[in-house]
Symmetry: C2
Subunit: 405 residues, 2 copies
């Protein structure tokens, strides 16, 4: 297949409320060095994608974070930063990036990857992207599907239409039904996308062997994305193209401010992936590259436990390390991970501590607890109930504590 330019798109949004008060509105998750590897999740994402890119990656972020994003990754034209005037969910952001790419290279392939996920094996990731590019060249909307390691209820799932070895048959079926070309090895047709299931359903999914986690990664020809979007939500595709056309002209700001607020606020899954899957136009590349969306403190605690010391170190002094367990010959055991500059002393505790103050932190008898110690907020959370943090964050505003978000 001919290879057209590949341009990564990085939507950098999302509040990360389940990591509050580590992540704040003013300093969202993607700007944080959550793993202590010395760079933020956004920086890691850019570093992972840059070697695969034929043009500088496009980071689409909120106007409020434009400066911080430029400071972290904007050096010497390494990335193109596009600021959204207001958050409109993922589809407008990706459509705008696609329109910018399409303007210069109508046949270019874009790959959209969240700015705040972790990937342990960049080489496996690069291999999956290469297959996805190939499938995208053949006219598919391609998603990278993560091989599930447990019946997670926090992710959506992707159902593959055909198992390995039945590609030819499936491809024929797909080709008859929808028009795109035959799928390359390693890519499979997608039957459907499924929203976050409950536990029982997630277990059923895993038992079939056909389901993958939806990590929100899409690879597709820029013009195809916009043309298909035009068929689904015409005003959204037209609006994105209108803004892109005005970029670099004197009208740009005026067009942006007029058009952007009217773009339908919708996720790419609902706007494109689900309807196109029903039409047989979506492919998935199943892969295992140690993906994690680090969605809450339970996930982060597990990350820090599995990767006690990541390469890179330093950063803003946030290298994770084992807590000072004191006289280990006391047989006190425990397993405390520390991110940040706090000094921690623990007895018989399994805990994760994020300390951004100079205070001494003492722990006794904790089991599966996360602690975030900041200047204005202290959070103490049982990892088992990490999802419930959103309840707390949601009501800050109502209580006149919006400044803490």
């Amino acid at each position: 297949m001919p290879q057209h330019p590949f341009v990564p798109v990085i939507p950098a949004g999302g509040a990360g409320t389940r990591l509050w008060p580590l992540s704040r509105r003013s300093r969202p998750k993607f700007l944080l060095d959550l793993t202590g590897e010395g760079r933020s999740l956004l920086q890691s994402t850019v570093e992972r994608l840059a070697p695969l890119a034929d043009r500088p990656p496009i980071v689409v972020t909120g106007a409020a974070h434009e400066a911080a994003v430029r400071e972290q990754v904007g050096g010497s034209g390494a990335v193109q930063v596009v600021a959204e005037p207001s958050p409109r969910n993922s589809m407008p952001a990706i459509a705008l990036a696609a329109a910018l790419v399409e303007r210069d290279h109508p046949e270019a392939i874009i790959g959209s990857f969240a700015a705040d996920h972790l990937i342990d094996d960049p080489e496996a990731f690069a291999r999956a992207v290469a297959i996805a590019r190939d499938a995208a060249e053949r006219g598919y909307l391609v998603t990278l599907g993560v091989a599930p390691t447990h019946p997670a209820t926090g992710f959506g799932y992707i159902e593959q239409g055909a198992a390995e070895g039945r590609d030819a048959v499936a491809d024929e079926h797909v080709a008859r039904a929808a028009g795109p070309g035959a799928l390359p090895p390693g890519a499979h047709p997608v039957t459907r996308f499924v929203e976050k299931p409950d536990r029982e359903r997630a277990e059923q999914f895993l038992s079939t062997g056909r389901f993958l986690w939806n990590a929100g990664m899409f690879v597709v020809r820029a013009s195809l994305l916009l043309d298909e979007l035009a068929a689904q939500i015409p005003s959204l595709a037209a609006g994105a193209r209108e803004i892109a056309a005005a970029l670099g002209t004197r009208q740009h700001q005026e067009v942006l401010e007029r058009v952007w607020p009217r773009l339908t606020a919708i996720a790419i899954d609902h706007a494109l992936a689900e309807p196109l899957a029903a039409d047989g136009k979506v492919a998935v590349v199943p892969a295992s590259f140690g993906w994690d969306d680090v969605g809450d403190f339970a996930a982060l605690a597990q990350q820090l436990r599995e990767h006690p010391v990541r390469p890179g170190g330093e950063g803003d002094g946030a290298a994770p390390r084992e807590g000072d367990e004191g006289d280990t010959d006391d047989g006190e055991g425990g397993d405390v991970r520390v991110l940040g500059r706090a000094t921690v002393d623990a007895v018989s505790s399994r805990a994760t501590v994020y300390g951004s103050t100079d205070r001494h932190i003492a722990l006794v008898g904790l089991d599966g607890i996360s602690i975030v110690d900041t200047e204005d907020v202290l959070l103490v959370l049982a990892d088992e109930q990490a999802q419930d943090l959103s309840v707390l964050v949601a009501r800050l505003e109502r209580r006149g504590l919006g400044r803490l978000r």
Copy 2:
């Protein structure tokens, strides 16, 4: 019986390391308003004893805390404050107070009560003290024994020699054996003192109905205490009397500095109570007046749960209150007690929070956790392992963190 003057003695010492970092070396437990009733444990102790006293209570405290003690309870001669040059355990402190009382009133009765315990029912306490005074007038070393409510392993126990109704027989036995007079109703001979038992033994104790908690409360004629002490540890009794004799003279400081450091550092239980019990010279008044030594965070959490709002209020803004559980109609449940000025927001949490900073404290999914939030130390502790805190405090010094004690 003739009633001689009653003088309360309040040894105010003890680091309270199991309540660190709420209690510090510079601000020990007895100086704290742990229950939010608007006064410190020491102030409550003085208020409880003042109505029973015929002379101002004597507070014996460390030189380092003399000023703070005077500030809290020293107003207008309400108490006499005596400063120990160095801590020598309870016997020297009580002996010195006894010698001071004896100097003016040889027949006076002293009652020694710790400065940092809680008593819920002061009237029941007063009734028990009245009986104890009566028995002390008859020549006994009298202790108040707390009727146990559970097989505690954190307290010593007192075994009564005779159950109610057998006093006459027992009294005769005691009288034959040891010399003091017949015991008044409500007082019983003591067979022995027992050190903190293990769980199994504590349960045996309770099943007999003869054992009481040793709350360290002693009522005795001042001169009898010193005479008996002179028989056990002559130098200690003589030293206490020498220092008392010098008080108010020009030699006092010289005598104190010369004699005090040589006094045997020993607890009154070992120095007097145990040997005299063997001689039949100790009586006990069993009583139930809601006693608690608030020995650790588990005990304190229980106190705050049982007494959510104590009378008095205000104080230094430390009134315990129910944490802001937010929308209780969310059915989130939880039970959070707050001492101090922290704002707390919780989801599904059973916890106790001591907040002395202005930070917002958020809790998710905690069960039986105590949190102490201070400027320089943050403690997060599982109440079940509250006793293990001492391990942590003990090693602060070794780690160069002695300033935090």
